[in-house]
Symmetry: D2
Subunit: 289 residues, 4 copies
C-alpha cells in the first residue's frame, strides 16, 4: 500500500474454495450405464484470519487439494443424489481442515436423456443433453447438519393463449400499456426449494416438482405471472410433502403483437416480436400456511 496512512482493519465474513469443477461420473452397470454431469463449487468457512492479514498460509488447504478431493470422494461416495454428495463433501472438509468450521457446496447438474436405442427404453450408453438444469446448494456450520436447497434452472415455457393482463393499477402520468385478455405468456422458470426433513429421495422429489410445474403452467387462465407463480408453488407444495417452501424467479419474456394494421394487415394474435429486454421480473417464496 503505497503513499497512504494505514487505518486499522479486520477480516469480516469470508470463504474460499474451488469453483467450476467439471465432474462427470459414469455408473457402469452391465449393459446399462448411468451418468452424472455436475459443475461443482465448494467453499469453506472457518478461521482464516492469519492467511488474509499476515500472509501465513499454514491454515489453508490449497484449492487444488479441494479439487483432488472432489474427484476422489466422487469415486468413494456419490452413490445416490447430488444433494447427498454435497453433504459428503462438506462433512469431509470440516473433518479434515483444522481451521474449517463450515462451508457450502453448489452444483449445477446437466441432465442427459438416452439416445434412441433398439427398444423404447433408450440406448444403454448413448446420451443427449437436455434442458433444463438441476441445481443444488448444501450449507453447513458444523459439518454434521446440513441445509439443502434444490432447484430447476432454464426451464423455458410458453403458452399461446389463456393468459391476460388487466385490471391493474393506473399511474395517472406514466401508465400507457393497454389491457390484454389474450396474450402469449412466456417465461424461463428458475425454482429452488427447501426441505422439511434432513433427508429424502431428492431425485424423486425433483422429478415430481418438475412434472408438476410443467402441468400447472397450462391448467388455468393466467391473469398475471404473479398468480401463475403462486399456483406453481401451491402445486409443488401440494404434491411434494418433502418440500417446506419454494421460490420462483420468473421473467416475463414479452411477446409483443406486431402492429401490422399500419400495412393493411390484420394481426389476430399471429405475429409477434419477442423482446428480450427489458423484462418484467417476479420473485417470490410460496410457503405452507
Amino acid at each position: 500500500m503505497t503513499d497512504m496512512l494505514r487505518v486499522k482493519v479486520k477480516l469480516g465474513d469470508n470463504n474460499y474454495g474451488k469453483a467450476d469443477v467439471q465432474l462427470f461420473k459414469v455408473f457402469r452397470d452391465t449393459p446399462r450405464h448411468e451418468v452424472r454431469d455436475v459443475r461443482v463449487r465448494v467453499a469453506m468457512t472457518g478461521d482464516f484470519r492469519e492467511a488474509h492479514a499476515d500472509g501465513d498460509n499454514a491454515g489453508l488447504l490449497a484449492t487444488d487439494t479441494v479439487r483432488n478431493t472432489i474427484y476422489a470422494l466422487a469415486k468413494e461416495g456419490f452413490a445416490s443424489s447430488v444433494e447427498e454428495f454435497g453433504k459428503e463433501l462438506l462433512a469431509h472438509f470440516v473433518q479434515t481442515g483444522p481451521r474449517v468450521t463450515g462451508g457450502f457446496a453448489e452444483f449445477t447438474e446437466h441432465l442427459w436423456a438416452r439416445l434412441p436405442g433398439e427398444g423404447d427404453a433408450g440406448h444403454d450408453h448413448g446420451f443427449v443433453r437436455q434442458m433444463p438444469k438441476h441445481t443444488v446448494r448444501v450449507e453447513t456450520t458444523d459439518g454434521q447438519t446440513f441445509a439443502v436447497t434444490s432447484g430447476i434452472d432454464e426451464l423455458s415455457v410458453l403458452k399461446t393463449t389463456q393468459s391476460g393482463w388487466a385490471g391493474y393499477l393506473l399511474d395517472e402520468r406514466f401508465t400507457t400499456l393497454p389491457e390484454s385478455h389474450d396474450r402469449i405468456m412466456a417465461t424461463v422458470v428458475t425454482a429452488k426449494w427447501e426441505y422439511a426433513a434432513a433427508s429424502c429421495d431428492y431425485d424423486a422429489v425433483w422429478q415430481r416438482a418438475y412434472d408438476q410445474i410443467q402441468r400447472t403452467f397450462t391448467d388455468h387462465y393466467s391473469p398475471s405471472l404473479q398468480n401463475t407463480l403462486y399456483r406453481l408453488g401451491e402445486a409443488v407444495l401440494s404434491t411434494c410433502p418433502e418440500i417446506s417452501r419454494v421460490w420462483f424467479q420468473m421473467p416475463n419474456r414479452h411477446h409483443l403483437r406486431y402492429n401490422l394494421e399500419r400495412f393493411g394487415l390484420e394481426n389476430d394474435n399471429e405475429i409477434f416480436h419477442v423482446d428480450p429486454e427489458p423484462y418484467g421480473l417476479m420473485e417470490a417464496w410460496v410457503e405452507r400456511a
Copy 2:
C-alpha cells in the same frame, strides 16, 4: 479524415440489412396451436456505391423497413417451412428494391415441444423449449433461384464406451498422449447440408437427418471423431436423397479420466474431468461419390 493524404479507394463486396429480428408466429388452429420461433437476418446485395462513397441514401431501404417487411411477410406468407419463407423474403427484396440484385437470409429456429397434456399427444397450446436448434441459410443472386442450406446447431451427445483413439501418427518430439481403447466420446454436433433439388419437404428432411444422426452416433465402435463424422454423413446421405452433401463441425469435448491412483483409488473409467478448453475440432463435407 484528418491530417492525411487521401488515396483513391473503391467499394468492394458489401451487403446490409437487419439482424437478430426475433419473429414468433402462432398458427391458431382450433384447438391445437403450432408455433415458429426464429431469429432472422436478412442482408441485401446490389449497387449501393453512392450511399457508401457519397453519403447519398436515395438507393437505400432503411433497415427498419426491412424489419417491418419481415413481420408483414410472415403474416402474408410463411405458411410452411422456414426455408420457403427465406425464399419469399429474398424474392420480395429483389423485386421491390430498385438497387437490390440479391442477398441472403439466415435463420436460427428455436424448437418447442408440447408440454404434457391430457393424452399422449401433448398440450394444445403449452410448449417447452428444446435443444438443439434448426438453422437455415438461403441465398440468391437474381431473386428467382435460391441456394438453400439447412442444419442443426447445439446437438450435444456423448457415449460412455465404444470409442477409442489409437494407432495414430507419432511425432517423435511432441507426442505425449497414450493410446486409449475405451474412452468417453462427447461432442456438440453442428451440421449443415445442401439440397439436390430446388425445393422439397424441408421439415421432413430435417427430422429424418436429425433422427439418423442420433442413431448413427452409437451404432459403431468409434476409432476417431473423424470416422464417426464420416459415418454420420454416410447415414444422412443414405436416408435423405434430397440432400446432395452434408458438412459437420464436431469438437472433441474431452472427458479426461482423473488420476485417482495417486490417492490409492482405482478409476475404472468412472470419474472424469470435463475439460472445456482446448478441444480437438474436426470439420468435413461428406459428399455423394
Copy 3:
C-alpha cells in the same frame, strides 16, 4: 392444479419490477457532452398478496409503467450519480404505489472514455467503451432511508512475478500441488462496498477506490490471493473514509507453467497455459477494526 389435493399455502417474501432497462442519458453541454449508460433493475416490495393468491391485479403497477417511469425520472432527475438516481427511483415508487413499502434498484454502468480529439482532453462527443463496469445497489424499506452499495465488475488484472504459493496445509492423501515462489497471479476483481454516511460524492469515491485497487495489486509480494485481497481492502478503507466496509470476490485465474522439459526445452516462467476452469475462488469482507 390438476388431480391433486390442495394444501394451504401463503405468500412469503416477494418482489417484482422491471429488469434490464437499458437507459442512456446525454448531458449536452456546449460543446462538451457527457454520457451515462446504465442497465437498470427496479424491484418493489409491499403487500402484493391479492395479486398472487387471488389473481386480483388492482394493487399492481404494470412493469411497463415502471419502465416508463425510469426514463421519465431520468429526464427530471439523474443530475449527478447513479447512486442518487437509485434513491430518486425508489422514493418515487414508495410514494406513488399504494401497496409499495420498499424495494431495491440495481445498476450496471458501462463506462465510456473519450475518443482522441484535437487536444489532450479527448473528443467532445465521441466515446469508446471501457472495461471495467460500475455497479450500484440501493435498497429501502421506507422510501426515505437508503442502504447503498457500490462496486466494480470485470476488472481483469495480472502480474507476471512477485507472487507465490507456499507453506500451505498438506492433506496427507489429497495434496499434490508443489509450492511456487514465482508464479503469475491473475484475477478478475469484483468489489462492492458500503458507506459510512447517508450520502457522499459517489463518483469521486469510486474513482479513488478503483485507482487504489489498481495500485495496490502490484505493490507487494503476494503469498496468496487471500492476502492480496486483504491488502486491497486495507487500501480502499485507508483512502476512502466514506466507505465503511468492502467485499471482494477474486477468482484465481490459473496460469499454469507448461511442461516443456518433456520436449528438451527449458521453461523459465515464459510459456503458460491459461486454465479457465476450475478456479480457486476467494470472497471476503474487509472491515474497519
Copy 4:
C-alpha cells in the same frame, strides 16, 4: 448405420486441429516484462481420407500433439508478432505431418495495458486487460507462402451527435421510420484487412489502423453507417500502405429517443433506450481503386 441401404459417399473438403488453446507468453526483460495472451486455433488440411472413411488413424497427428507443439514453438519462436507466429506454426505442421499439405491458424489476442507504476510509463510487471481484441488469420496451401489477415474485434464506439439518417428510399407500404438529422450513432466495429506484401511490421500497422479508425469515426457528419464505414476504410488505406484492402462489419446499435412527450416532458435528445435487438448490420470491403 442401422437398417438402411448405404449409398456411395466420399470425403469433401475437410480439416482438423486444436481450438481454443490458451497460450500466454511472458518476455522477461529486466526489469520490464511484456506479455502476449492469445487464444489459438490450428487446423490442418491434407489427405485424411483413410482416417475418415476407413477408421485408420496412421496418417493423423493427435490434436493433443498439436497443442504440445503450439506451446513448444511459442518457446522456440514467437519472437515478434502473432502473425509471424502463425506462419511458424503452419510451416511446422506442413513440414512434419506426412499427410499435411496446408492449413490455417486463427488467433484472438487479448490486449493488456500496464497498471499504473511509479512514473508515466506504467508498471513493469503489472497489467490490466483492455478492449478491443486483436485478431489474426494465417492460411497456407504449401507451408511456404501465407495469406495473412489481421483485424480488430469488439471496438465499441459511439458519438452523441453529428449523425443522421435521411433521404432514404421509401417503400410505399412498409416504411414507417421518420428521418433524423441528429441522432446517436453507436456501433461495435469488427475490422479485418489483407496485406500488400508477404510481410511487414504487423504490430505497427495494427496500431496505426486502430488509431485511424478511432479518429475518423468522429471527424465528419455521418449520413449513414455505410458512409462512415467507407470513410474508415479510406482512412485505413490512406495511412497504411501495407494494407491492400479492409473489411468492416458494423452493427447499428440503435439508441432510440424515448417518447417522453406522453408524460409532458421534452426530450431534447437526452434520454435514450438502447435497443439491443434487432440491429441494422453493414458489411463491406473497401479496396484500392
